[in-house]
């Protein structure tokens, strides 16, 4: 019995060790600059919002609010596009059962095996010839072409019975009506998981914006704060304030959707 409680205590200590960097980040972001470089006390002696005010104050070299808006625009567009396009495609493959749909599905799944690094140079080349480099579209369109959403929703729809959709068709509902009124609501759990994972992936993407964007005004948060840190690396208070603000939306999402996120991670190892 005693050994079990020692285990629980140890595991809690380990858990705290994992979140300690995040706690330090938030606490330090409330310290005045003079205290930041002196880590004697983790808790600020004088609490201040100055770092946040400095960062939110518009500056040409580090337009934090602009980066935040770019991130919101890119991540929500990617999430919206992935949800709509993948659910339409999955509906076409599994319900309308279009000839060639099954083969198309296999091509999509096979393409997911190609390592991501191979796409870096050719996608840059294609975006360049479409004159899309250094625009939000350079991040949105390639992300919406990824196969994960189609894979997930097609598998999910295949596992659902078709009876309700067939009944709706016989009652005179159009295919589009069936998609919108029947299939989409049935897919809600899978759509929620897909939406959350897509948003997180897009929000955290670092290599995409690093390669496909050029001007500071167009950066998303991850590249923006990395640049900020590289040029103001001694001003840790402000850098940590930007980091805390960039992470806050994700922590909120994690608090709400913890179950979906952890479960989707858990199931990755079990299925195949």
């Amino acid at each position: 019995m005693k050994a079990r409680w020692i285990l629980v205590a140890t595991m809690f200590a380990v858990g705290l060790l994992f979140v300690a960097p995040m706690v330090l980040m938030v606490l330090t972001s409330f310290k005045p600059e003079a205290e930041v470089l002196n880590p004697e006390s983790a808790i600020p002696r004088h609490w201040t919002l100055q770092n946040y005010l400095d960062v939110l104050n518009w500056s040409e070299e580090a337009p934090f609010v602009r980066w935040l808006m770019n991130s919101v625009l890119v991540s929500s567009s990617v999430t919206f596009l992935v949800l709509v396009l993948s659910s339409l495609a999955a509906f076409g493959i599994t319900r309308v059962r279009v000839p060639g749909g099954g083969a198309f599905f296999y091509v999509v799944v096979a393409s997911m095996m190609v390592p991501g690094l191979l796409f870096l140079v050719p996608v840059y080349f294609i975006l360049n010839s479409m004159r899309l480099l250094d625009t939000p579209a350079a991040l949105i369109l390639p992300a919406a072409g990824g196969g994960f959403g189609v894979f997930l929703l097609t598998q999910f729809m295949r596992s659902l019975p078709k009876a309700i959709e067939e009944a709706a068709l016989i009652d005179g509902c159009s295919w589009l009506g069936v998609y919108y009124h029947v299939s989409l609501p049935l897919c809600a759990p899978a759509m929620a998981t897909l939406g959350v994972l897509t948003f997180i992936g897009s929000w955290n993407d670092f290599v995409g914006p690093l390669v496909y964007l050029d001007s500071i005004q167009n950066y998303t948060l991850p590249v923006g704060i990395a640049l900020y840190q590289a040029s103001y690396y001694t001003e840790y208070g402000r850098t940590l304030a930007t980091s805390a603000m960039a992470t806050a939306p994700l922590l909120l999402i994690f608090a709400i959707f913890q179950k979906q996120i952890v479960e989707s991670m858990s199931s990755t190892g079990l299925k195949d």
Binding site: F18, P21, L85, S86, M113, I126, G147, M265, G269, L270
Partner: protein, 291 residues
């Protein structure tokens, strides 16, 4: 028009929006990658575009910098994958044995995986800072000499691995934990009856039953480790003395600082071939496992 034809046209109308983006940004890039690899294609001088056959590959094979980058990438994988599996296993076994509070601790260790690599890099660069970083502050208070975490060419890579462990081991632990919880109770009970519990029970019962999940974790992380790049880009920039510049970073610099797209594409294929070997290995081992 027959109803079958109508249905086919209608069906492809549903597929078309996605299929357009898929063709444009997944299929065409694979073709373009093949095309670029056999061309001399420098963005800085558009006239230089010309067919060179396999010369990019021959040059890459002899490229001393690429060889060094491959060694660095392999080194990262060799340090990262075993330490990740051991850490994640320890976490998963600990979590699995918890009579209470399991979900809370699971959330705590999973939390770092939610961070963007940029924030992770900023945080750890602050910890690793030679003069005013947290780690050296602790060392000095213990009366020990400060460690040049990122500026020594032998220590920089382990430092990057340590940061990556904090960042990713919680996610891997969650996968292993799900595997552990998938093992029916009766196996453990039968083993305990036969006197195989504790360490022996782990090696003779738990581990063999978990083999498919472990295999999955090892290979996916091996594939990930071979595409190692942003961590070093953020923490060390590939230094000191190129000690942490992996293949992807070399490709990135060749393509987007030097604008030699053809050469970069050829090197991408070479790395992709190595990664593909791991993919096939996984496929083959899984089939063997299943039969």
């Amino acid at each position: 028009m027959s109803s079958r034809k109508t249905r086919a046209l209608l069906g492809w109308a549903y597929l078309l929006p996605y299929a357009t983006l898929f063709v444009l940004f997944v299929l065409v890039p694979i073709v373009v990658a093949a095309y670029l690899a056999v061309m001399q294609f420098d963005l800085t001088s558009p006239r230089s575009a010309g067919f060179v056959g396999f010369r990019n590959f021959v040059d890459a094979w002899k490229d001393e910098y690429l060889q060094r980058a491959f060694v660095v990438t392999a080194k990262f994988a060799a340090m990262m994958v075993p330490s990740l599996v051991v850490t994640a296993f320890a976490l998963a076994l600990g979590l699995n044995a918890m009579p209470r509070g399991r979900n809370t601790v699971r959330a705590l260790v999973f939390l770092p995986t939610m961070f963007t690599v940029a924030v992770t890099g900023i945080l750890w660069q602050w910890f690793y800072n030679l003069e005013f970083g947290l780690f050296n502050f602790i060392l000095r208070n213990l009366g020990l000499a400060p460690v040049p975490w990122l500026s020594d060419k032998n220590i920089a890579m382990p430092s990057i691995v340590l940061m990556s462990l904090w960042w990713t081991s919680g996610g891997t632990a969650v996968i292993l934990l799900a595997g552990l919880q998938n093992i029916p109770r009766m196996f453990h009970e039968a083993a305990a009856l036969d006197g195989a519990d504790g360490w022996r029970g782990f090696w003779s019962v738990t581990f063999p039953l978990l083999r498919p999940v472990v295999l999955f974790v090892v290979v996916t992380n091996l594939i990930g480790a071979f595409q190692f790049f942003p961590q070093a880009q953020l923490l060390t920039g590939g230094g000191p003395e190129l000690a942490t510049r992996g293949v992807v970073q070399y490709i990135y610099e060749t393509a987007f600082n030097g604008y030699r797209l053809g050469y970069a594409a050829a090197m991408s294929w070479m790395l992709a071939a190595v990664v593909a070997v791991f993919g096939f290995l996984q496929f083959w081992l899984m089939r063997k496992e299943a039969s």
